[in-house]
């Protein structure tokens, strides 16, 4: 059962989105920064170390951005998070087979880079500090309903692919993490219903 309402954007959320965007974007002349970024996009500036693993689709920069976002969605603490579960590798494997997804990821990551510049004046999404990244994720998450109905496209313009990507990544990361050994270990789940079953179903600890 999935009862979610596709139009479930509350007034509170909407005000939050508009306020966040207006305040942050007012500091940055977007057209100038966008043209600057467009020249750099083949080799985005970042002071962060990039992942060196072999990916089928992602460039090292793209992989590092995606991994960073997934690590915010399911953080690592004293138990594994999305990073330890290797969510970025699973995503890479999935999108390499799908041209539409490839485009969405490429455009979305470009848009995240642009958002970093427009909203925080950083050279790269990876140069944002954790609070700034969280703010972008929060903004994107709150705006999902509006963006899917087309209402946000004028408001956000070139940022829309980034917003859509973040919301896609939230769903993907949760799906991959909680169908992985790492995710199961975190919540104490023993694995698929069959064939072991749950013969201890009536052995209660209370």
């Amino acid at each position: 059962m999935d009862f979610r309402d596709s139009d479930s954007l509350t007034r509170r959320k909407f005000i939050h989105i508009v306020t966040s965007f207006s305040v942050l974007s007012s500091f940055f002349p977007s057209n100038y920064l966008f043209s600057l970024w467009a020249e750099e996009k083949e080799n985005p500036l970042s002071s962060q170390k990039l992942l060196k693993d072999k990916f089928e689709f992602f460039t090292p920069y793209q992989a590092t951005v995606v991994e960073q976002v997934t690590a915010l969605i399911i953080p690592s603490d004293d138990s594994p998070g999305a990073r330890e579960a290797g969510v970025v590798f699973e995503i890479d494997k999935t999108i390499v087979k799908n041209q539409m997804l490839k485009n969405s990821y490429a455009k979305g990551i470009e848009a995240l880079h642009l958002m970093a510049k427009q909203l925080a004046g950083k050279d790269s999404f990876l140069d944002l500090n954790q609070d700034e990244m969280m703010e972008i994720l929060n903004m994107a998450y709150a705006s999902e309903s509006l963006s899917s109905s087309g209402g946000v496209s004028n408001l956000y313009g070139t940022m829309l692919p980034g917003i859509l990507l973040i919301n896609h990544l939230i769903r993907e990361t949760i799906e991959i993490f909680y169908t992985s050994d790492a995710g199961w270990k975190v919540v104490g789940y023993q694995g698929p219903p069959q064939w072991k079953g749950n013969l201890d179903y009536d052995k209660c600890g209370f």
């Binding site: 059962m1 999935d2 009862f3 979610r4 309402d5 139009d7 479930s8 509350t10 915010l72 969605i73 399911i74 953080p75 603490d77 138990s79 998070g81 969280m134 994720l137 998450y141 939230i170 990361t173 949760i174 799906e175 993490f177 909680y178 169908t179 992985s180 995710g183 199961w184 975190v186 919540v187 104490g188 789940y189 694995g191 698929p192 219903p193 069959q194 064939w195 072991k196 079953g197 749950n198 013969l199 201890d200 179903y201 009536d202 052995k203 209660c204 600890g205 209370f206």
Partner: protein
């Protein structure tokens, strides 16, 4: 169009109604063809052993394949405007907000499966006898209508179905007639039910092991259940006695019954004498075929059976087959349901066990002190919260630390306390044909017109109040979700579109499910229901009615009356 050799009986549908009839008639020596719209599923198509099993929620694997599972094969009249007087009944979750922010009820969503075994492939295995009151609610309480049969008429057939299937249950339920002993012992209560039972006990309610068509010990060549809780996604181990692993194999073993999957019937044909003489159906690759038969039995569900009759027009039956009364499609009854999802502080491992292992029948029979009419049954279930992914997607906060903390703290701690009630029959709730919309085969689809009455809304309010009292008394620490029929529409139990009765002017079928208008036509499924039995699940009653109707067919055919 190719025609197959005439058989004695052609049955449309292989679910709760079609399978018992096929078995009984095959055993009696009738030649029988069963035409099933869906495929024959095998264990390989179920996902419960895969690591990503949670990524295949219902309607997988039963999605209707001709549409890629994306399109419902029915339309609906505009849902009713929501009565603001009952706004407290809006469906919501802490994590996702309101499920319906509009001012109208959501369109109907029909829970069903097409395949050999019908919707028993998807059902949760509940095997309930309707209470005696359920057949005489008009006489006893002045509500609904009386059936033309009573509990005693069905009792031997309930017993027959329970014995054949090996139904499990605990004898002595104070709210049910004594009846025969269950052939198999009850399943033990799950930890979740034991925990919630505290609340039922405090309120003086009787949470009771559910009677189930799920093996508690090896029976009928099938193993005992291992409590994976995935019953509604397709039972891989065949512990659930869906028709595909019980009565259909028995029917086929008689040597007289042929089951043809992927066979979609578009019309029942009538000869010049006004009797049915067969069906026209689409086989694989949309090839149209004819199956001639001396008797036709329609067992395709309250939605599809009435659709087929209404689509089978002829000069003798211009308003649809067996519809001289104009009652085909009328008195559609949907499902009135309400549920609370709550968290307990301690682990109750609610994802382990059976889908609905316990029920309370205290309100199964109407009570005079209630301000609504009709009965309902309370229950405890994990429902859709069966693994980490469903928790993460449905009740946990969106993402980040708060999300992960919730998952670590509460996975296995959530349970639903819910109620299902009967919707009293009303002529204006009905199935008609939507001539503008056709399915993959070009057959006009059914159109559902259904609205909740004030009585339904009062019943829902009672359900909410009672579920709230139970979870509070049980000591739940948080309510994370409430949902119900007020603004959503989840139709798992449907009935009443070809009701049985003694008067051909006000009913479609006689007490043996035989058409008043066409002697060799039978409709044997929940279409014949006059009322819904106070919230009980319908499958066992459909089985019992089917065995009774089959006995009648055998008797009457021998006399040459059909």
């Amino acid at each position: 169009m190719s025609a197959s050799k005439e058989v004695d009986v052609c049955i449309v549908g292989s679910g709760a109604g079609g399978a018992p009839v096929a078995y009984a008639l095959g055993k009696a020596g009738f030649s029988v063809v069963v035409l099933e719209a869906g495929p024959r599923f095998t264990q390989k198509e179920y996902h419960l052993a895969q690591t990503d099993w949670e990524q295949y929620p219902y309607p997988e694997p039963f999605a209707e394949r001709e549409y890629g599972g994306k399109k419902d094969l029915y339309t609906y009249s505009q849902p009713e405007a929501l009565d603001p007087k009952y706004k407290k009944l809006r469906s919501w979750s802490k994590a996702q907000g309101n499920y319906n922010n509009s001012d109208r009820r959501r369109p109907p969503h029909v829970d069903r499966a097409k395949g050999v075994g019908g919707t028993t492939l998807h059902y949760q295995g509940e095997a309930h006898r309707f209470s005696p009151y359920g057949f005489k609610s008009k006489s006893l309480y002045g509500v609904g209508d009386d059936w033309p049969i009573n509990y005693k008429d069905l009792e031997p057939f309930y017993e027959k179905a329970e014995k054949l299937l090996g139904v499990t249950g605990l004898n002595g339920n104070p709210f049910k007639p004594p009846g025969g002993l269950f052939p198999n012992p009850p399943h033990g209560l799950s930890c979740a039910s034991e925990r919630v039972k505290v609340g039922f006990d405090k309120l003086g309610l009787h949470l009771w092991p559910n009677s189930l068509n799920i093996n508690s010990r090896p029976f009928g060549g099938r193993p005992a259940c291992n409590y994976c809780n995935g019953c509604f996604l397709g039972c891989m181990m065949k512990a659930k006695g869906s028709m595909d692993v019980t009565l259909i194999p028995k029917a086929e073993a008689t040597g007289n019954v042929e089951v043809r999957p992927d066979s979609v019937v578009r019309e029942i044909t009538v000869n010049k004498n006004g009797k049915v003489d067969g069906v026209i159906y689409f086989g694989s690759n949309k090839v149209e075929k004819i199956q001639n038969a001396k008797i036709v039995v329609v067992s395709a569900s309250a939605l599809e059976s009435s659709r087929l009759l209404l689509n089978s027009k002829s000069s003798q039956f211009p308003e649809g087959l067996a519809n001289n009364s104009g009652m085909v499609g009328k008195n559609f009854m949907e499902t009135v349901i309400y549920s609370n999802t709550v968290l307990f502080a301690e682990p109750i491992e609610s994802y382990k066990g059976l889908q609905i292992d316990s029920r309370a029948w205290d309100y199964n029979e109407p009570r005079k002190e209630n301000n609504f009419m009709g009965g309902l049954v309370l229950g405890v279930s994990a429902l859709d919260l069966l693994g980490p992914l469903s928790y993460a997607q449905k009740i946990a906060p969106g993402w980040g630390k708060e999300h992960k903390d919730f998952m670590q703290k509460y996975f296995g701690h959530a349970v639903n306390v819910f109620a299902i009630g009967e919707q009293l029959p009303r002529e204006e709730n009905m199935i008609t044909i939507d001539q503008e919309v056709r399915d993959y085969y070009g057959i006009p689809v059914a159109r559902i017109s259904t609205r909740l009455s004030d009585n339904d809304l009062e019943m829902l309010s009672f359900m909410q109040r009672k579920c709230n009292e139970i979870v509070e008394a049980a000591g739940a620490v948080d309510m994370v979700r409430q949902f119900g029929s007020y603004d959503l529409s989840m139709m798992s139990h449907m009935g009443g579109t070809c009701r049985m009765g003694s008067d051909p002017k006000t009913s479609v079928l006689n007490p043996y499910c035989q058409s008043h208008d066409v002697k060799n036509l039978f409709v044997i499924d929940s279409s014949c229901f006059v009322t819904q039995g106070g919230g009980d699940s319908p499958s066992l009653t459909i089985h019992a009615i089917a065995f009774r109707a089959a006995d009648f067919i055998i008797r009457e055919a021998k006399k040459g009356n059909l």
